[in-house]
């Protein structure tokens, strides 16, 4: 079955505003979602804004980014299985992350 990546974008400062009770509720919701059989696992990324390396005539050049200018950054990702892209999107509509940020759905290319 085709696999899809859910890229979770968020404003990390938003988390810090939650109370312990709200954090617990959020964790419980995420974990309940992650238990779905369509989930093939995921990873959290650290909050370092990261660097971008580009080729230039003078050789590789490192710049800040890609999130240095925006408040939103990619916080983590999940891989899920779905029959089609439409189904992958449909299956992600109830993800609790939508209360805190946005989700980008991308199909993983397979040959």
């Amino acid at each position: 079955m085709p696999q899809y990546m859910l890229l979770l974008h968020e404003d990390p400062t938003g988390w810090a505003k939650l109370s312990p009770e709200e954090m617990q509720t959020a964790i419980e919701k995420y974990m309940a979602w992650a238990k779905k059989p369509i989930n093939r696992g995921g990873k959290r990324l650290t909050e370092e804004p990261g660097k971008v390396i580009r080729h230039t005539p003078e050789g590789p050049r490192v710049t800040d980014g890609p999130y240095s200018e925006t408040k939103e950054m990619m916080g983590g990702f999940y891989t899920i299985e779905a029959a089609s892209y439409e189904e992958a999107v449909q299956l992600s509509m109830d993800h609790p992350h939508l209360e805190h940020g946005t989700i980008e759905v991308r199909q993983i290319f397979e040959m």
């Binding site: 312990p20 009770e21 617990q24 419980e28 974990m31």
Partner: protein, 430 residues
């Protein structure tokens, strides 16, 4: 906000309660002057949980995980950031020591309970003032956020935040410590602490407006704080009486409303829905409160709640005893609210006419005129006396006072019982 039961993976209020415990632990190690730092470390630990558990799954022991991460954050802070001096070495050694939580190390559990107790005592220090103590206890020992406290007290967030800042400054300025005094000073401090807990409980129990679950959380938290005091070695009969009263009243909380969230009067409540665990706890504490000669308001209130709990059904309630107890309570605290309750008991024992007569002294009280319950009781007794039109006027007036949604629906139901429509009664009233 809370998830459906089948999706619940953690204990109810685990984070909130762990926040209080970890802060208590760190404040003992770092000292009360570093309260803010302790809070920050807890926040950091919980953020890390939020970022890791949804991807990696629940750690084997979530409590221990949070504790370890918070202690490591504190260790980091002591080593690299804000603290230096001779104490740093002792602190790093202590924070570096691996700790076991729960059954594996009863000594550590014991120490934690002691830490929490000391923290509550400091938050309820008479030097701080009651309003600040209430906010501080909820924030520091209870793990409530400023927003949640503001919501619970229908107050402004900025005002609560201000109050907390001032309270923390007082802790620093007055050099308050975590020490628990002895002798007469201990008794005084216990009075202050039980008053704060009692206030918290009452605020939660008598929801004024709206239908907010956070208010029920106040009851739960008050009971938890009281219970912490009750099972410590410093507990006195006053503490036991308070916890008995809270447990016996809280046992009825879930039976107070039906599935639609409508209010159910005590007599009509399904006793099967009363929390038997809390009732047992209440009676145990009530027994313990009997040591000594002192009879506090808490004792009498606990006795009233116990009389209700002991009854096997609505017809088995010992109203003469309850009337006597309200009389006793009135001698200790001659408040109009107590008088109102006593009038209800009078009506039960001697009939609606005498009950109504007992309300008479309250009719001059300005506060009572704006209290929906006074008007509702008046209406109820008038209805029993067959004075439907006058009763309807009372219920109509009660509806215009401050009360919560379930109470409002209850009053409308009573108004219909009077045989009048809403508009009809309003016309009579006007």
């Amino acid at each position: 906000m809370s998830g459906a039961p089948e999706t619940r993976v953690l204990l109810e209020h685990l984070f909130r309660h762990q926040a209080g415990r970890i802060v208590a632990h760190l404040v003992r190690l770092l000292g009360p002057a570093h309260l803010d730092l302790a809070e920050e470390m807890v926040q950091e630990a919980m953020l890390k949980a939020l970022q890791s558990w949804p991807y990696k799954g629940l750690p084997e022991n979530p409590e221990a995980w949070l504790f370890r991460v918070a202690r490591n954050a504190a260790l980091d802070a002591v080593r690299h950031r804000r603290m230096a001096g001779g104490k740093a070495e002792i602190l790093t050694a202590e924070l570096d020591r691996p700790v076991q939580l729960n059954e594996t190390d009863p000594d550590f559990e014991e120490q934690l309970r002691d830490d929490e107790l000391r923290l509550i005592f400091m938050c309820c220090h008479p030097e701080i003032g009651r309003d600040a103590s209430i906010a501080l206890s909820l924030k520091i020992a209870g793990g409530f956020s400023v927003r949640e406290i503001a919501r619970a007290f229908l107050a402004d967030e900025a005002a609560i935040a201000q109050r907390l800042v001032r309270a923390k400054k007082q802790i620093r300025d007055k050099g308050l410590t975590l020490e628990i005094p002895s002798g007469r000073e201990l008794a005084e401090r216990l009075v202050a602490a039980t008053d704060v807990v009692y206030f918290l409980f009452n605020e939660g129990y008598a929801a004024h407006e709206g239908e907010d679950l956070i208010r029920q959380d106040l009851c739960t938290e008050a009971l938890r704080l009281g219970w912490l005091m009750a099972r410590s070695s410093i507990a006195n009969p006053r503490v036991h009486a308070l916890v008995a009263m809270m447990a016996l009243q809280a046992a009825r909380l879930s039976a107070r409303t039906d599935e639609a969230g409508d209010l159910i009067l005590l007599e009509e409540q399904d006793r099967g829905r009363w929390d038997q665990h809390l009732i047992a706890m209440g009676f145990r504490e009530f027994d313990l409160s009997m040591a000594g000669d002192e009879v506090t308001e808490f004792h009498v209130q606990a006795a009233i709640a116990a009389t209700h709990a002991r009854a096997t059904g609505m017809h088995a309630i010992d109203w003469p005893l309850i009337l006597e107890l309200y009389g006793q309570l009135f001698k200790l605290n001659s408040s109009p609210v107590v008088a109102l309750n006593r009038a209800v008991a009078t009506a039960k024992v001697h009939g609606a006419a005498e009950g109504f007569a007992a309300l008479e002294p309250l009719s001059q009280d300005v506060k009572m005129q704006s209290y929906y319950l006074y008007l509702a009781v008046r209406g109820h007794l008038l209805l029993e006396l067959g004075e439907n039109a006058a009763a309807a006027r009372c219920f109509q007036a009660a509806l215009e006072r401050r009360c919560c949604e379930p109470e409002r629906r209850f009053l409308k139901r009573k108004l219909r019982e009077c045989g009048g429509t809403l508009d009809g009664a309003a016309a009579e009233n006007g």
